[in-house]
Symmetry: C2
Subunit: 240 residues, 2 copies
């Protein structure tokens, strides 16, 4: 921008400024399906609807810091893979005032997912149903066992759909998938996570070979225990 335009924003009272928030898609895999953690709105607008946890960005707080703070304050999670997703800026996305929201994707291991539910009982885990295949895109729906199909507040259904799309797109060319797994995991667990996110079943030997060839997997020599069949070896994620 040039200086002339800058002056429009320089005087804090001369022009109205939007509020800026972060909204978090807390995403994990439960029962072989992608799941998200939601909070019920107890005020208007969208009272009684379910919403993504979010919060205002402080004037001296980076976007990443705001996302990390919301993750801590609203979900009790100290550490998770956090990445900026997309910024939603429709004028009427909040009926009260102009709010621009920077959406973040938080990937949770099953342990972190359950720990968040323990720490914050207001959180509702809901399964994400993706009615399109591949990276076609489109709306997704959210269902919880007790409450049935949920209608999300604001444009949060769009945010959630964007999150699923992003995750599907990045899954096999990047290492984000490991953020959904514990430190030690079997190849079957890894494949289950990929199948849950992609919504398809994958060929086992091909999946194994492909992932092993990427150099992301370090065999530990340890094996899972307590199985009624041959135990699988435990692997650890390592950057190549």
């Amino acid at each position: 921008m040039d200086e002339t335009d800058f002056l429009r924003g320089y005087d804090p009272n001369a022009f109205q400024r939007p509020s800026v928030t972060v909204d978090l898609v807390l995403l994990g895999v439960r029962n072989g399906k992608p799941a998200v953690l939601l909070l019920k709105r107890d005020q208007q607008p969208y009272q009684g609807r379910w919403a993504l946890p979010g919060g205002f960005v402080g004037i001296d707080e980076t976007l990443d810091a705001a996302a990390a703070r919301v993750l801590r304050e609203k979900a009790g999670i100290g550490h998770a893979h956090l990445e900026q997703l997309y910024t939603f800026g429709a004028v009427d996305r909040d009926p009260r005032m102009r709010i621009i929201s920077v959406a973040y994707l938080a990937l949770l291991t099953e342990t972190a997912f359950d720990a968040a539910l323990q720490a914050m009982p207001a959180l509702l885990p809901a399964a994400i149903q993706v009615p399109w295949s591949g990276e076609a895109g489109g709306p997704v729906s959210v269902v919880s066992p007790e409450n049935g199909a949920l209608t999300l507040a604001f444009d949060h259904a769009d945010i959630l759909a964007t999150a699923v799309l992003r995750l599907r797109g990045k899954l096999d060319y990047s290492d984000v998938g490991f953020a959904l797994l514990p430190e030690l995991f079997t190849l079957r667990q890894l494949q289950d996570v990929h199948e849950a996110i992609l919504g398809t079943s994958l060929n086992k030997p091909a999946f194994r070979r492909r992932l092993l060839d990427k150099g992301w997997l370090a065999a530990t020599g340890a094996y899972e225990a307590g199985t009624a069949y041959r135990p699988a070896e435990l692997y650890r994620f390592q950057r190549p």
Copy 2:
């Protein structure tokens, strides 16, 4: 966010709000290399440095509309491929005040690039030099024939690097590459654009087959004219 937190932002005077801008990476291909259009800052801070065109987001303006407006007002371009890139929110990215900037990537055909230079003589075309290969990422540098190496204002070098990274990543799984070409083009022109963006040379027969197989190309039956050699057929982009 819940209602308690919302009240922090509801009263416009209770808490300071950041300003929100859009910054545009106006990207094209010139002389076989990626190029960007820049504006010189005539005021502090970063006086005399080169910057990406940008502007404040109006209180009743969507982010996409703000980006389209800046494209029109600062580059005189009515139509271009515009996509949101990333939102930059470091606290000190502007020394005067807190400004969060939503960066957009605008892809220009060579015609649009030249038309912008004609319409807005203040714009400087500069070549982007990418010192890393593939999608490794990292800083990029900017050079203009007359001015030599340029140092960009603010965090605009980061924004530019993000743009290059995004474009490289999307180039061969999406159809964005066609946004850099005129309506009718030869396969050689298409390959030249890909090579410029990727920074590598590609195998000609393999490239042809791969793109033809994607179903994005419609042969027109027309051929380029005035060549000192066999004329190439002209193709048109079509969604499959």
